[in-house]
């Protein structure tokens, strides 16, 4: 094979990425309250072409922020993100337009992601229009995209408004919109969390199927490891803007190493009457990104916390097939 024309294996490369939000303003600062939310705080990872990676963590851990950085919906406040070799900070104008057709987002809340004043046809036309697809070809592409996400008899939906569709149908339309320009990279931000559990299966199957068929590189964001496991071979566990553990999903499911991952694995609900009722190995409370603890950010909820955890930030270290950021390793 000709080495020169071979595409580099890494599609997305994130290095020490930071996204710090300024919140509260002058008033909070005067009272000595921290005014910076470190939604993403020094995150490093690569995604290879065709890989599906799960971003796992509780609400407020910075998963959505990370996804928004990857799609250049937000600019990093530190570090760098390269997409196919290009630093995202430098992607502008027509290159941004090109990037927009290559990297797409599947939204968490399908009821919010489609303009209620727009028909399904108008919704799906928008990206085509922006990409300069001639009017005559659009209908055809729309139907194809809706067929791709397995919406039966797509024609009947074209002139409907979003409120005339069920949640599962709407989420398929959202997916169709993301896929209609045949992107290479897709970020799915908890795409089934707003749906009834019974319709989740259908949407997840479509996602898996389409990803395989189009050879997509994908990020799947969720707080539920069971869902991540269903679609991703690799999982990155985040807590308060940092990576706690990164490795093959099956390894993480069967032998979580990081204390936070252990809690996440234990918390996954299973539809099985005979299951463990042991208390979760994690302290109460929610992650508070405004006042993270010193040292290890997980320290205040960690059952294994020790003296070193307060003074020293644990760096990700290779442990077998994985990276783990914990002083126990």
């Amino acid at each position: 094979m000709n080495i020169v024309t071979k595409k580099p294996e890494v599609l997305v490369s994130v290095h020490e990425a930071r996204l710090h939000y300024q919140v509260g303003g002058a008033f909070a600062a005067m009272r000595g309250k921290s005014t910076v939310v470190k939604a993403v705080d020094g995150v490093t990872f690569d995604i290879r072409r065709g890989e599906s990676v799960g971003l796992l963590g509780e609400s407020g851990c910075g998963k959505t922020s990370m996804g928004r950085l990857l799609l250049k919906l937000e600019d990093t406040t530190g570090g760098s993100i390269h997409f196919d070799g290009e630093e995202l900070g430098e992607v502008r104008r027509h290159r941004l337009k090109k990037f927009r057709s290559r990297a797409q987002l599947i939204f968490q809340n399908p009821f919010d992601a489609i303009n209620p004043r727009f028909t399904i046809r108008a919704t799906l036309s928008e990206p085509l229009e922006n990409a300069g697809i001639p009017r005559s070809e659009r209908e055809d592409r729309i139907i194809k995209a809706l067929e791709l996400v397995r919406l039966p008899e797509p024609e009947q939906f074209l002139d409907r408004y979003p409120h005339q569709l069920s949640g599962g149908q709407l989420q398929r339309v959202v997916m169709a919109r993301a896929l209609i320009l045949q992107p290479e990279f897709v970020v799915a931000d908890e795409p089934v969390s707003m749906l009834d559990v019974s319709v989740r299966a259908g949407v997840l199957n479509v996602f898996r199927d389409v990803r395989d068929r189009l050879g997509l590189t994908a990020i799947y964001i969720s707080h539920d490891l069971a869902l991540v496991r269903y679609v991703c071979e690799r999982t990155i566990v985040m807590y308060l803007g940092r990576i706690m553990e990164d490795g093959p999903t099956e390894d993480i499911v069967h032998e979580p190493l990081h204390p936070y991952t252990k809690a996440l694995v234990a918390a996954v609900p299973v539809p099985n009457p005979d299951q463990s009722h042991d208390p979760l190995p994690i302290g109460r409370g929610a992650p508070d990104p405004r006042n993270p603890p010193s040292g290890c950010v997980f320290r205040d909820r960690c059952p294994s916390a020790h003296a070193r955890c307060a003074s020293e930030v644990p760096q990700p270290r290779p442990v077998g097939s994985r990276l783990v950021a914990c002083h126990l390793f």
Partner: protein
């Protein structure tokens, strides 16, 4: 967890353009007060449009009785002057009718300018945020600090007293309320998923504003426009009454000033100053009723 609706089996009809416009503007046709307000507006608009047909005389012409006396201070009905005449021999009825024309002109242009300027500034500030927002909102703060009537008087006097300058002066001050409210509305709209989705779909900022955001703030622009109508008419009346008005145009404020200066009150010439007063009250309160109707639609919790 949103309730998931059973899929509708009926194929929806595309509502016609008029129905869609009404829905977008959300005219308050269910509120009796607002309907009354709309009716009053309609009557005044019709009067203004057909002023030439309705009036019996030229409102600025000095008139004479059939016996070639100056037609000054005639009572209503005398010598065919429906509402009598002024001290300088002008027909009050015709002035009143033409007054609706300038009231309408001022009200509508001021409302249009206030709504337009305020909406654009609000949209731009809210959508782009950061520095743009900071600068525009400081400007709004400054506009909030300006005393309204003195500013309009000074500016109108400075730029020549004319209707247009009064309108411009008002627009320069009144855009602030519209802009503030629309900005905060845009701030929440901007975080809606479908706005972000449009960005991901590669739509330009201009397209996003026009297609996804502006339609949602149109009713608010209308609300603030309708508030501005009343304000504008009242302001013009005050300015004319104080003598800073456009000397070449007949307005209700001018009539009041004329009556006042001619000591109509002492002459008990109620037929002279009461009708323009009533007209001002009617038009201003009609604007108020419509505004209220709008508010009840837009902020339904207010009147619980």
């Amino acid at each position: 967890m949103p309730e998931i609706a059973a899929p509708a089996i009926i194929k929806p009809r595309r509502p016609n353009i008029l129905a869609r416009m009404f829905r977008t503007l959300r005219l308050p046709v269910n509120d009796p007060f607002a309907v009354a307000g709309l009716l009053i507006y309609l009557v005044f608009i019709a009067t203004a449009v057909f002023a030439d047909q309705i009036t019996t005389h030229d409102p600025t012409e000095i008139l004479y009785t059939p016996s070639y006396d100056l037609a000054a201070d005639l009572r209503p009905g005398q010598d065919g002057f429906i509402m009598g005449t002024t001290s300088l021999g002008r027909d009050i009825f015709s002035q009143l009718v033409y007054g609706s024309r300038s009231a309408l002109l001022i009200g509508v242009t001021a409302a249009f300018m206030v709504a337009l300027i305020g909406s654009i500034i609000g949209l731009v500030a809210g959508y782009f945020g950061r520095l743009v927002d900071a600068v525009l909102m400081r400007l709004a703060d400054i506009a909030f600090g300006i005393p309204f009537l003195p500013f309009v008087i000074v500016l109108a006097a400075f730029l020549q007293p004319s209707i247009w300058n009064v309108v411009i002066a008002m627009a320069l001050v009144l855009w602030r309320d519209t802009a503030r409210v629309i900005r905060s509305q845009v701030l929440t709209l901007r975080t809606r998923g479908y706005v972000e989705a449009a960005r991901v779909a590669g739509s330009s900022d201009f397209k996003i504003i026009v297609r996804h955001i502006a339609p949602n703030i149109l009713p608010l622009s209308f609300l603030y426009g309708s508030i501005a109508i009343g304000w504008a008419i009242l302001t013009e009346a005050s300015i004319s009454f104080l003598g800073f008005g456009d000397p070449d145009s007949i307005s209700w404020g001018y009539m009041l000033q004329d009556a006042f200066a001619s000591q109509a009150l002492a002459k008990q010439a109620y037929y002279w100053f009461v009708p323009p007063g009533i007209c001002i009250i009617l038009v201003v309160s009609a604007g108020f009723f419509i505004t209220r109707g709008y508010e009840n639609i837009l902020f339904p919790k207010l009147n619980r």
